[in-house]
């Protein structure tokens, strides 16, 4: 027992437990309000008000939805595999929640002379952890779709699995370009290296683009929402689901959106760093003293992180209501023939630029050359006779 107390003190066990609970609560809260924001954004983009009955501006809508999910009857089809049918949505939700736990949301708070970092899971293979959790995310959909014993569900599940694995490769390669510059797998170190306004997006514009496209595909969001494509597959992999299990699937999508926005912010947009942060911190420490000033500065950092995350979520919604869905062959072509070769090219450009000694200039010159080569090939590509519609 004494060993346990000592261990708990050393690792700040209770603080960590508290931080995990707070981060899960914030994740769930933001995911819940994303469902409201999605309908509001959709409404404004399509020139209509969106939800506006439940509470002021429809703000109680997520609670009403949750209530509905709780009180709906939940049936398991007679043909379904019962345990796997239940396991599917749970796995989806579990992987979604676990991916948000590793994100560093802010610098350290000083509490009682100890620095408590605003990050639940601090491991020095953070990126690999994210990558592993993402690669497991496909099971929830696949098992649920198979267990339903429904043709639509099965097709949706197979599509989801195939799409997720295809885009995982390009995603991994764009992460590797970042790792080459930072030389560390720890998310916190990667964020710390982007101190101030030294964000990775300036070094990795192509990598960022590839990563974001892959994040859309991994979250099964439009334009990559073929697994649940309602015009072809009814409800896709969750056709047979109802009540809370359906709620889990829908909610997991929003949590994934939150988590992937957070990871994108950490990798490319500086995480909790913002321009002029040193100056702000010096002013605060001067005005309030070391501890309080540091804590307020951390709060501002967390604010900057959440601004980036919320903008990321808004970007997901913006794209959803702007870009139409891909066809399956277009999706696979984009993944295998577009993003993977581009990601490999980006990696090699980054490597050569780093070794040449002129990192920033080298990368931009390399990208310009790459664009030039691609456009020459594009101009010279063999053309097929296009069929004329309606003639």
């Amino acid at each position: 027992m004494n060993g346990f107390i000592q261990w708990a003190n050393e690792t700040m066990f209770l603080w960590k437990a508290l931080i995990i609970i707070v981060i899960f609560a914030i994740t769930l809260g933001i995911a819940a309000y994303s469902t409201w924001a999605e309908r509001k954004v959709a409404g404004y983009i399509q020139d209509r008000p969106g939800p506006n009955r439940a509470g002021w501006g429809g703000l109680l809508q997520p609670l009403a939805d949750a209530g509905k999910m709780f009180f709906k009857e939940d049936f398991i089809p007679a043909q379904a595999d019962k345990w796997l049918f239940i396991l599917g949505p749970c796995l989806s939700m579990l992987t979604a929640l676990m991916s948000s736990a590793v994100v560093p949301f802010g610098d350290a708070f000083i509490i009682g002379g100890k620095a408590v970092t605003v990050q639940a899971i601090e491991i020095n293979i953070g990126i690999l952890y994210v990558f592993g959790v993402v690669s497991l995310g496909v099971y929830g959909v696949m098992i649920g779709g198979w267990a339903s014993n429904n043709k639509f569900s099965l097709l949706g599940a197979i599509r989801a699995a195939s799409q997720n694995i295809s885009y995982e490769l390009a995603m991994g390669m764009s992460i590797i370009a970042i790792l080459m510059m930072t030389g560390s797998l720890s998310l916190r170190t990667i964020v710390e290296q982007q101190h101030g306004f030294n964000w990775n997006i300036f070094y990795q514009p192509l990598g960022c683009l590839i990563f974001i496209v892959c994040a859309f595909a991994e979250c099964n969001r439009t334009p990559f929402d073929l697994p649940e494509c309602e015009t072809e597959l009814v409800g896709g992999y969750h056709t047979e689901y109802s009540s809370m299990k359906l709620g889990f699937y829908l909610f997991a999508e929003y949590i994934n959106m939150f988590a992937s926005s957070a990871v994108t912010a950490c990798l490319f947009f500086g995480g909790y760093n913002y321009p002029g942060m040193d100056w702000v911190q010096a002013q605060l420490v001067g005005a309030f003293g070391q501890t309080v000033g540091q804590n307020i500065a951390t709060f501002i950092g967390i604010g900057s992180m959440f601004t980036k995350i919320l903008f990321g979520i808004f970007f997901f919604m913006w794209v959803r209501w702007t870009v139409p869905r891909f066809r399956y062959d277009q999706l696979m072509n984009l993944g295998w023939k577009g993003l993977i070769p581009l990601a490999v090219g980006n990696m090699i450009i980054t490597a050569v630029a780093m070794l040449s000694g002129y990192k920033l200039a080298g990368i931009w010159i390399g990208l310009a050359v790459l664009i030039l080569i691609i456009s020459i090939f594009w101009a010279l590509r063999p053309r097929k006779e296009a069929a004329v519609l309606g003639a």
């Binding site: 060993g3 261990w7 293979i125 690999l128 592993g132 690669s135 496909v138 198979w146 699995a161």
Partner: protein, 181 residues
């Protein structure tokens, strides 16, 4: 009683090891014994997870992550595909044949016996705390030896993967004009 006291005074890492081992064996037995092939896949994922936890206990973090990414994340997806292909929702009939079961049990017993005998006879080098490098399982050390010392095996892996890719292409070969959907 003395024995029990010894067990209670073990450091927590032994308990972790014991629990993980039980979990691993549970997953492995479930894989073999469950009738439904998809259930087997899920038990196997449990096994891979607990094996990864064992790697972490051995301070090999990179190996643990890779085990999850490649085995649990990629290979098991392929297994699921295969199971969905093979139409195995009905119980496979030949699994009930007693002959196969007896053969399997005898083979397993012999194999297990050989393993145990050799492991007991193997010379184990005890860990020397003075020369032990706690960083040896870390990714930087691994990268350095992989791209410095073990250069040739590393490059040969790419050839191996290329051959495997050609094999995959041959498996998926179709006759002209045939169309699946």
């Amino acid at each position: 009683m003395e024995y029990l006291k010894n067990i209670l005074s073990l450091p927590p890492i032994y308990y972790t090891f014991a629990i993980l081992s039980v979990l691993t064996l549970f997953g492995a037995l479930g894989t073999v014994m469950s009738r439904n092939p998809v259930h087997s896949v899920i038990y196997m994922i449990v096994t891979f997870f607990s094996l990864s936890a064992h790697y972490i206990l051995l301070n090999a973090q990179f190996l643990a992550a890779v085990n999850i990414i490649v085995y649990a994340g990629a290979i098991m997806v392929l297994f699921l595909f295969v199971i969905m292909f093979l139409n195995m929702k009905q119980e496979a009939e030949e699994m009930k044949k007693e002959k196969i079961i007896y053969t399997a049990v005898i083979t397993a017993v012999i194999l297990g016996g050989i393993l145990i005998i050799f492991l007991r006879r193997a010379e184990r080098e005890p860990v020397n705390p003075l020369t032990y490098n706690s960083q040896s399982g870390m990714i930087e050390v691994l990268g350095r030896s992989l791209y410095g010392e073990y250069l040739l095996p590393f490059e040969l892996i790419s050839i191996l993967l290329l051959v495997a890719m050609a094999g995959a292409v041959m498996l998926g070969k179709r006759e002209a004009g045939e169309r699946h959907f």
